[in-house]
């Protein structure tokens, strides 16, 4: 496999503080990798090292085959980067700012015109092209930053919170834009918003205290949820809880308020059909029978609240992934 981004043993310390603590992963073309993690987990710092803004304390980063430390200009030419907070030059207009980026990126005049048209149309900047950037709303500033990042059609995109500060419609548009580009690029985004991971990411990584604590597809991560495939039943009938507990595939029955029960399956089992069958056989009246919706946020909370939470399944999965990467 051709890796577009190769990160190996990345460490960053600030004095006594270890912001990033041995992060390794690879991203191929066509993958949208979502960085999830609480504030200060090391997401942004990792991005700053991939893009060459910060030098790592240890470890290496290669972008499209170029070592970011050894060949910074070649590597940076392959990257489009939206830094945290989407900084720009406040006294420039979006148009002059994008022209400056085109100058620095060395776009010839035909490419420049084509890309400017594309970017302005797709990020919806037409209305503010001649307004100075510091008078723009947060959403427009973010879009200017995004426009700047994709202007040269880079094979690698690093977007630090690309939808922060956008309203729901704008979020939807930006996600659509990212999804449209996904097939041709290797993309890393960081986000707090878990639904965004479901919407755009083909792979998600939970980072806590500078370490990768979970790595997999969003579906795989959802399976780590304690509520994965759990079933909710509303029923006033006697003996329901006992009957559920008696089932082999049910590991635990929890009684919630108002005659609601939550049944947890034993690992890897799907129990909703069996429970439905049981209810029908017993002739119980249930007002509700539903599978818990996938909850990435529970997974996220589980992984990030336990301090040194690197054990268990996700760690093993992570290793397997990396080994596969090295073998390729």
């Amino acid at each position: 496999m051709d890796w577009m981004i190769e990160v190996e043993g990345l460490v960053k310390t600030f004095g006594h503080l270890t912001a990033v603590d041995g992060v390794s992963f690879n991203v191929p073309k066509g993958e949208v990798l979502g960085f999830l993690g609480p504030n200060g987990a090391g997401k942004s710092t990792t991005m700053k090292m991939i893009t060459g803004f910060m030098a790592p304390t240890a470890g290496t980063v290669r972008v499209a085959g170029h070592d970011v430390d050894q060949q910074p200009i070649a590597a940076k030419a392959q990257i489009g980067y939206l830094p945290e907070g989407a900084p720009a030059y406040p006294d420039m207009t979006p148009l002059s700012f994008l022209n400056f980026i085109a100058d620095v990126r060395g776009l010839d005049s035909a490419t420049r015109r084509r890309r400017l048209d594309y970017v302005i149309a797709n990020v919806h900047l037409e209305a503010v092209l001649e307004q100075s950037i510091d008078t723009l709303s947060k959403g427009f500033k973010r879009r200017v930053g995004l426009a700047q990042a994709i202007l040269h059609d880079p094979p690698v995109l690093i977007l630090d919170e690309p939808t922060d500060g956008l309203d729901p419609n704008q979020k939807h548009e930006v996600r659509g834009l990212i999804s449209d580009m996904a097939a041709e690029k290797a993309i890393i985004i960081s986000t707090h918003i878990l639904e965004e991971v479901d919407a755009v990411c083909s792979r998600a990584m939970i980072i806590a205290e500078g370490r990768i604590v979970a790595d997999g597809t969003p579906e795989e991560l959802e399976q780590q949820s304690p509520f994965h495939n759990a079933v909710l039943i509303d029923s006033r009938d006697e003996g329901l809880a006992e009957a559920l507990e008696a089932m082999e595939t049910v590991s635990l029955v929890e009684e919630l308020q108002g005659g609601r029960f939550r049944a947890y399956p034993t690992a890897g089992q799907t129990i909703v059909a069996e429970i439905a069958e049981l209810i029908r056989q017993q002739g119980w009246s249930t007002s509700r029978l539903s599978v818990e919706p996938p909850r990435l946020d529970e997974v996220f909370r589980n992984f990030t609240k336990t301090k040194a939470g690197s054990g268990g399944k996700p760690g093993a999965k992570n290793d397997a992934k990396n080994n596969a990467g090295e073998a390729a």
């Binding site: 803004f53 006294d91 002059s96 400056f100 620095v104």
Partner: protein
């Protein structure tokens, strides 16, 4: 080279996007006028030269140039734009150079707008134009020296006020090391060689030499290498911050 040019153009335009440029130019012209005509007694001297005009340039630059240079990097660091700039495919040299050259050209524009002085003195008498051209060149080089110092110091902080104050202090040292107030202190006990060494660090010594109309290679080398050294320090400061 193309990237230096891109940075240069953006920076220079940036000056004129804000009131800063106009305020600076107006104040610069106003102060040169005051210094020349009132304090320098331009008319009373009754000589057709621009000595009273150029004599005050070091002292004017001492405060005005750090006001230009303080924002060069500090503002960028504060706004976060530096993260954008340093992740573009630019060599650090082209960024440092582009920024410096833009600031320098800006000061040169302000200096060029003092041309009515030259016209006035030409109208009133027959000045030595060679000396005036040499003095302008010396003034440009000296402004470059002050700017390079200020640029390097601006790179070390994100606070523009701190950048300004430290730049003024360092520029002051580079200015007064050639003034009698310092040299007299050394003259009493130090050997002549040390005295010359201290004086040779000063902008004043070299600027005065050029102002006399003689462009000595040593004075040129002094200014050019001073600018080069401070810009190199500027580059190191930026590079060091990458790993801190």
């Amino acid at each position: 080279m193309a990237t230096t040019w891109a940075v240069f153009r953006r920076e220079l335009k940036g000056y004129f996007n804000t009131p800063l440029a106009y305020i600076f130019i107006v104040i610069f012209l106003f102060l040169t006028g005051i210094f020349t005509f009132y304090i320098g007694s331009f008319f009373i001297r009754g000589q057709a030269d621009l000595k009273p005009f150029f004599n005050f340039h070091p002292w004017l630059y001492l405060f005005l140039v750090p006001a230009i240079s303080m924002r060069l990097w500090a503002e960028e660091r504060k706004s976060g734009a530096i993260e954008l700039l340093l992740t573009l495919p630019l060599s650090l040299w082209s960024t440092v150079l582009g920024k410096f050259l833009a600031a320098w050209v800006f000061v040169i524009i302000a200096l060029a707008l003092t041309f009515p002085m030259w016209l006035t003195v030409s109208y009133l008498g027959q000045p030595d134009h060679g000396v005036i051209i040499a003095s302008y060149l010396g003034s440009v080089l000296m402004a470059g020296g002050y700017l390079a110092i200020g640029a390097c110091i601006s790179a070390a902080t994100k606070n523009q006020v701190i950048a300004f104050v430290i730049s003024v202090v360092v520029c002051f040292l580079f200015t007064v090391s050639g003034a009698p107030i310092v040299l007299d202190f050394f003259a009493a006990w130090a050997p002549q060689a040390l005295l010359d060494a201290v004086a040779s660090f000063s902008f004043l010594t070299h600027f005065n030499a050029i102002q006399n109309g003689v462009i000595d290679l040593r004075d040129l080398i002094y200014f050019v290498s001073l600018i080069g050294l401070w810009l190199f320090a500027n580059l190191l400061v930026i590079d060091l911050q990458k790993s801190s």
